[in-house]
């Protein structure tokens, strides 16, 4: 498939005729990302092509959304300083500060 043809492929928004009521931005690790009203934090990150936003406690491996419905807890992220939020469930809000979560997200605690 040529680049030109690929450029014409439809998007999920085309499929359902989506016209979001608002777009805004949030910050992910200091980077400004565009968000559509109604999207979860995970959806905003996927829209930007970001698939990983935490590292595991044992090996520091990258992880992102897996089950998409709140069952697997792989998509944990720190939102506005609050760690361990499930990105696939938490709605994105204007001006949110989302940061990659390392391990438990409680590295500041001396435990």
């Amino acid at each position: 498939m040529s680049e030109a043809t690929r450029g014409r492929r439809r998007s999920p928004r085309d499929l359902v005729g989506g016209t979001p009521t608002a777009t805004w931005s949030l910050r992910f690790d200091g980077r400004e990302l565009s968000a559509q009203a109604g999207q979860s934090i995970a959806a905003v990150l996927w829209s930007a092509g970001i698939l990983a936003w935490r590292t595991t406690r044992e090996t520091g491996a990258p992880r992102g959304a897996f089950c998409g419905i709140g069952s697997c807890y792989d998509c944990l992220v720190t939102v506005n300083g609050r760690p361990n939020q499930r990105a696939c469930l938490v709605p994105a809000r204007p001006g949110d500060r989302v940061t990659t979560q390392e391990g438990t997200g409680h590295g500041d605690l001396a435990v």
Binding site: P12, L15, G18, A37, G38, E58, P62, Y73, Q85
Partner: protein, 493 residues
């Protein structure tokens, strides 16, 4: 949507129509008496049960972890995304829309209290009003406490995806097939541009069709079972022409999007550094053992994978409801034809009684509502249920994982994603330390002890221990702030 829905709903739970005026922190139903029926889950089964029961005169409280009714099957974009055609992502939207409208009408009339964003974490007997129940929920992103009292409870908690691990399945870009579908339906997003769909079960066909329609390239759908497994159940198929038509719809969608359909094949490895870049697909023998030398690489930037669904039962098993292993090897509730569990006053409908799809869930929800209201169950509904349950059993048997799938695990393949426990450590616990079941493996290796509480690795750990999965043993169905636990009355247990 900002913060308001959860705040509003948390308040509603505290000062709803069932509670006394000005009680502030009193639970719904605490002072004005319990509602007739609490329904847990607003998917096809719960939604159908709630609106049918309300239509038959019961006062219903419908609690749901999600923001909008519909569950995973009818998951749809938030209103703010302005989707003019949400039905483009769905099969059977015409079964959902009128029921959602009925829910809104019953809500407006005060016959249904709908509590979205309420995750019920335990159900306990109501010491003050036996027979009756108190449902404890975590409400909204702020995780506030909410309680609902009810004379009867219907658990319509649905299912989640069954996952079988393989090397590379923890790479970013490897996502659940249902997960990709859920993210697409609710957030209008894709995990990549070129997405392989793999695993087992008819859900894969629906997922591949949706991804293709939404603009992804799907190089292949990789199905571990042989669809010839259905041939043994020809009479059941012939009694379910709608299911055959659905299969034809999926088939033509695959053709339209140029998607290859490989049966008796599996993704045995995902490759990449930092994210998935390709997968290896191998042929399987009839026991799902990879055939040596048949592996070939397919480049992709995402893999959507899942091996069917498993019933979500922790609330039911916490109450002591009887279970049995189904033809797919998964644990399901033992229910009578009306939806009664073995515990008087606790009912269930839909996937909890064995995975069978949305049409069956709708029928079972309506059947339970009639029985709960003391009305005769319409013969039409009973016939539908019998017919679709037979189809569900045929489907479950056809896609039950074969024992040879563990042949694609390497010793260093993480089986438990949360605690990062590799297959080698689990095999060692079984072989050298005498573990005979998933629970003992957990105690010896921490597999299943992390955040997801074994939801992702449970079937795989059980298989490595040489058994079918045991019933859920999770005292809490989701993480609960310690303060809420302290509010449980000690005498209730």
């Amino acid at each position: 949507m900002a913060t308001s829905p959860s705040d509003r709903d948390a308040r509603r739970a505290d000062t709803g129509p069932d509670s006394g005026p000005g009680t502030g922190t009193a639970p719904a139903g605490a002072d004005g008496g319990p509602c007739d029926l609490a329904v847990v889950g607003a998917g096809p089964a719960g939604l159908a049960a709630a609106v049918t029961a309300a239509g038959l005169g019961l006062r219903v409280t419908l609690l749901d972890a999600g923001e909008r009714p519909g569950g995973q099957y009818y998951r749809h974009p938030a209103p703010a995304l302005g989707a003019a055609r949400p039905e483009a992502l769905h099969h059977g939207w015409s079964a959902f829309a009128p029921r959602e409208a009925a829910l809104r009408a019953h809500e407006a009339a005060g016959r249904i209290t709908h509590l979205p964003f309420h995750h019920v974490w335990t159900v306990v007997p109501d010491g003050a009003a036996a027979p009756g129940w108190i449902l404890h929920a975590v409400a909204g992103p702020e995780e506030g406490p909410a309680r609902v009292r009810a004379r009867a409870v219907l658990l319509a908690t649905g299912a989640y995806e069954r996952q079988l691990p393989f090397p590379g399945w923890t790479l970013p870009g490897v996502v659940g097939a249902g997960g990709a579908q859920a993210m697409l339906k609710s957030g209008l997003v894709l995990p990549g541009k070129r997405v392989v769909v793999a695993g087992s079960g008819p859900l894969l066909l629906a997922v591949a069709g949706s991804l293709g329609a939404a603009g992804a390239r799907v190089p292949a759908v990789v199905e571990a079972a042989a669809y010839t497994g259905y041939a043994a159940h020809t009479p059941v198929l012939l009694r379910n022409p709608a299911k055959l038509a659905e299969a034809a719809t999926y088939g033509s969608a695959l053709l339209r999007h140029g998607i290859r359909f490989l049966t008796r094949h599996a993704v045995t490895e995902a490759h990449g550094t930092g994210r998935v870049e390709a997968v290896t697909v191998a042929r399987l023998d009839r026991d799902w053992r990879p055939v040596p030398g048949t592996g070939r690489r397919i480049p992709c930037d995402a893999l959507a994978v899942g091996h069917g669904l498993v019933p979500q039962l922790e609330l039911a098993t916490g109450l002591g409801c009887a279970t049995a292993t189904g033809p797919d090897g998964a644990v399901a509730l033992e229910l009578d034809p009306d939806g009664r569990t073995s515990v008087p006053g606790i009912w269930s409908a839909g996937e909890t009684g064995g995975v069978g799809g949305a049409q069956l869930a709708l029928a079972e929800g309506e059947i339970a509502a009639h029985a709960l209201a003391g009305r005769p169950v319409p013969a039409r509904l009973a016939r539908t249920r019998t017919r679709l349950r037979a189809f569900a059993a045929a489907m479950a048997a056809a896609h039950r994982p074969g024992p040879g799938w563990t042949g694609w695990l390497r010793e260093d393949t993480d089986v438990c994603r949360c605690e990062e426990v590799p297959a080698g450590r689990i095999r060692e616990a079984v072989r050298d330390l005498g573990a005979r079941d998933a629970r003992t493996v957990k105690l010896l290796t921490r597999a299943g002890m992390g955040w997801c509480q074994g939801r992702m690795c449970g079937p795989a750990v059980a298989a490595l221990a040489g058994h079918d999965p045991a019933p859920d043993r999770r005292p809490l169905s989701c993480p609960v702030p310690l303060g809420h636990l302290a509010e449980l009355p000690p005498a209730d247990h």
